[in-house]
């Protein structure tokens, strides 16, 4: 008996089933999710990223930062992204609406480095806060500002050039052996500026209606979590 048509049709319908179920259904049900207009503030959230941040995202993509960094905060009680005794990677969990303005959503699948979704809202243990200055120095040589960092240097995003006239206000403030030779300065290239602009734009702090009633695990389970962690 020739069962070829049966197999062809069966395989076709199986794929169609998952394509319709997972891809189309989601596209139809929330692919058209809209921004949240806050009447009080007169703004639509999430906000449109600045031009610099949009350029910086391209740099983030072309360097493959997503290979090591995620951009998603999981809910309290699921991992230690947020909540009590957590890494405090965000004030709230990431929701679908946070990513609406992004042409390419880079949730990421590896945390070789820390999550970056709310970088600028986080407390920096080694510095006052995540300032542009700190990020430049970190990208230039991570060990300058965090001795036990394992991130590679991105010195190729910077340019060493002789000082002509006034030193550039953007020049990295480096001292001793790390600094450039006399008469020279190290300045970030346009790509470094864009990347830092992008990193500084990362913050999901606005409370959407849907972030106010997320499931938080009951207290006993949180107790178990602590035990499991110890």
């Amino acid at each position: 008996m020739n069962r070829a048509p049966l197999i062809f049709l069966g395989v076709f319908f199986a794929f169609a089933f998952s394509f319709v179920g997972l891809v189309l259904t989601n596209q139809i049900t929330y692919g058209g999710l809209s921004t949240h207009v806050d009447e009080g503030e007169g703004k639509a959230f999430p906000m449109q990223p600045s031009g610099l941040a949009a350029q910086g995202k391209r740099v983030y993509q072309d360097l493959g930062c997503v290979t090591c960094h995620t951009q998603q905060v999981r809910r309290a009680g699921f991992g230690s992204d947020m909540g009590e005794k957590s890494r405090a990677w965000g004030e709230r969990q990431s929701v679908a609406r946070d990513y609406l303005r992004e042409e390419r959503v880079l949730l990421g699948s590896m945390r070789i480095g820390p999550d970056l979704r709310n970088l600028t809202t986080r407390k920096n243990p080694d510095w006052d806060d995540f300032s542009a200055d700190w990020l430049y120095r970190y990208l230039y040589d991570p060990k300058l500002v965090m001795t036990d960092s394992r991130m590679p240097r991105y010195a190729f995003l910077f340019e060493t050039r002789p000082i002509v006239g006034e030193p550039s206000p953007k020049a990295l403030k480096l001292s001793g052996s790390h600094g450039p030779e006399a008469g020279h300065e190290i300045v970030p290239t346009d790509r470094a500026e864009a990347l830092v602009g992008y990193l500084l734009s990362l913050k999901d702090t606005y409370a959407y209606p849907e972030t106010n009633n997320v499931y938080t695990p009951p207290a006993p389970e949180a107790g178990e979590q602590k035990e499991a962690g110890q």
Binding site: L22, C65, V66, Q72, R74, S80, V105, M110, F156
Partner: protein, 489 residues
């Protein structure tokens, strides 16, 4: 392989097959395209092996080659993965599936021009794509990093190559459809569907928000479960009974596991997004579908281990079977890891850790590649009509591959669990988490080095065998060319 091939040929039913001349006609019709596909697959395998060592090295020694933008980790690692998947994996899968389809359908290849064109386009596309990643045009979507200017070429090439499997299938004289063919047909349809959907909805005209992440997860889980696993299973179902000269045990269950895998496996991607900013039902359905994989896991186990039972001594002596048996065990482990990893409590620990990489390497290297190696050790001598050139190199290849996979996957899995447990404890500083993984990452590099040595042995052996096989043909050709002017005179 000199000693092994004699054993294999004794065991090979085709020597006493009903249509011995047909078999040699089929093999001869496939010779040129298969040499091109396998040859390019092996070149990519070597490239991926080298890039694997480089990227693994960078992970524990970040200062290694850090002055050059083109080999920064975020580019080398995706380049390695893409070279492995689209360079090695797809070329090898094309070659093996074409051969399997021709043999099983008892159809010879009517011509190879279009197929060769497809192979050229495919490899051109992969070269452009990987070049694009290195030069900074990556899409940053895992397994889809190749930029938009390369991928349409891949789809065209796929159409040119994949359609030949169907041509051979239709042209064949056999009306029985064997389990291997179901899987080949599923794989054949799966890839263009998922790849074109992913390209259109993620790269060329991206959908909004995290729908992208769902499509991405749907693509990557299907690429493994319905493309790589299907090809691997087609190989296992073909070679296991053939080399052991016994029918597949509990074969009547095989169709159940096939349909189960195709229907539920295609939904399993949602489990990758557990805890992420996507609708909860997608995550739940993903977990449920992942649990459904228990059924094919059990049936495949009954089919494979049932057939192997009592014949392990044959496995020890037959090179192809050794690779395939290794792959069978790896497949079981991958499916177990998939099911266990879909449990919430486990996912929140191992998500985003090196365990993920361990699972991928176990699936792509430990299962898929090992099974393909086994198939190639059988196919190449028949296709070229000569024995493998060097027996010690085959031994090196097997042991280096087996040991390399065990070291690589083992270290990443254990290191990843440690990493996950530390990450889950908010009081441990991030740098301390990274520091704890360093010994394991170093071990993983050793795994990559061992694997690279093994693959080098394999590639050398293949081209050595190829040169030996083509030597008479080259001589004849030279003789003809030399004779021609005289004849023309």
């Amino acid at each position: 392989m000199a000693t092994d091939s004699s054993l294999t040929s004794e065991l090979t039913p085709e020597r006493s097959a009903k249509h011995p001349e047909e078999v040699s006609i089929i093999d001869a019709s496939l010779r040129t395209p298969l040499v091109v596909l396998i040859g390019s697959a092996l070149v990519w395998l070597l490239i991926a092996s080298v890039l694997g060592v480089v990227s693994a090295w960078k992970l524990h020694t970040p200062a290694f080659l850090d002055a050059c933008e083109f080999v920064t980790y975020g580019r080398v690692q995706p380049a390695q993965t893409n070279a492995f998947i689209f360079g090695w994996g797809f070329n090898a899968a094309f070659a093996v599936s074409l051969w399997l389809m021709a043999r099983l359908s008892r159809g010879a290849l009517p011509g190879s021009g279009v197929l060769l064109l497809g192979a050229v386009f495919w490899n051109l596309g992969v070269t452009l794509g990987i070049g694009g990643i290195i030069l900074g045009f990556s899409t940053s979507l895992e397994w889809l990093e190749m930029p938009g200017f390369a991928t349409p070429l891949l789809l065209v090439a796929y159409a040119l190559i994949g359609s030949w499997s169907l041509v051979v299938f239709r042209a064949g004289r056999s009306h029985q459809i064997y389990a291997s063919q179901w899987y080949l047909i599923a794989a054949l349809f799966c890839f263009p569907w998922i790849y074109s959907v992913a390209q259109v909805m993620l790269v060329f005209s991206p959908v909004r928000g995290t729908v992208q992440s769902i499509i991405h997860a749907w693509f990557s889980s299907n690429l493994f479960l319905l493309w790589f696993a299907s090809i691997g299973l087609a190989i296992i179902y073909y070679f296991l009974p053939k080399l052991l000269v016994k029918p597949v045990s509990n074969y009547y269950l095989a169709s159940l596991s096939f349909w189960w895998l195709v229907i539920f496996g295609s939904w399993a991607g949602g489990a990758r997004l557990l805890g992420g900013p996507v609708p909860a039902w997608v995550q739940t359905v993903g977990t449920a579908a992942s649990f459904m994989l228990v059924v094919p896991l059990v049936i495949l186990g009954m089919n494979h281990y049932g057939t192997l039972a009592g014949r392990w001594s044959v496995v020890k002596e037959n090179l192809s079977l050794r690779f395939i048996a290794f792959g069978i065990v790896a497949l079981s482990l991958v499916l177990v890891a998939w099911v266990v990893g879909a449990i919430h409590g486990v996912a929140q620990i191992i998500q985003f850790t090196h365990v993920t990489t361990a699972q991928i390497q176990l699936g792509l290297y430990g299962f898929f590649s090992m099974v393909v190696f086994g198939a190639l050790y059988y196919i190449v001598p028949r296709m070229l009509d000569t024995a493998w050139a060097n027996a010690p190199l085959t031994t090196v290849h097997f042991w280096a591959s087996a040991l390399g996979v065990v070291v690589l996957v083992g270290s990443l899995a254990i290191g990843g669990v440690e990493q996950g447990l530390r990450l889950a404890d908010g009081s441990i500083a991030f740098a301390a988490v990274t520091k704890a993984t360093l010994p394991y990452l170093f071990a993983a590099t050793i795994g990559f080095v061992i694997l690279a040595i093994g693959q080098l042995a394999f590639v050398l052996n293949f081209f050595w065998t190829l040169s030996r096989a083509s030597a008479p043909a080259v001589r004849t050709m030279k003789g003809l060319l030399a004779a021609q002017p005289e004849a023309a005179r």
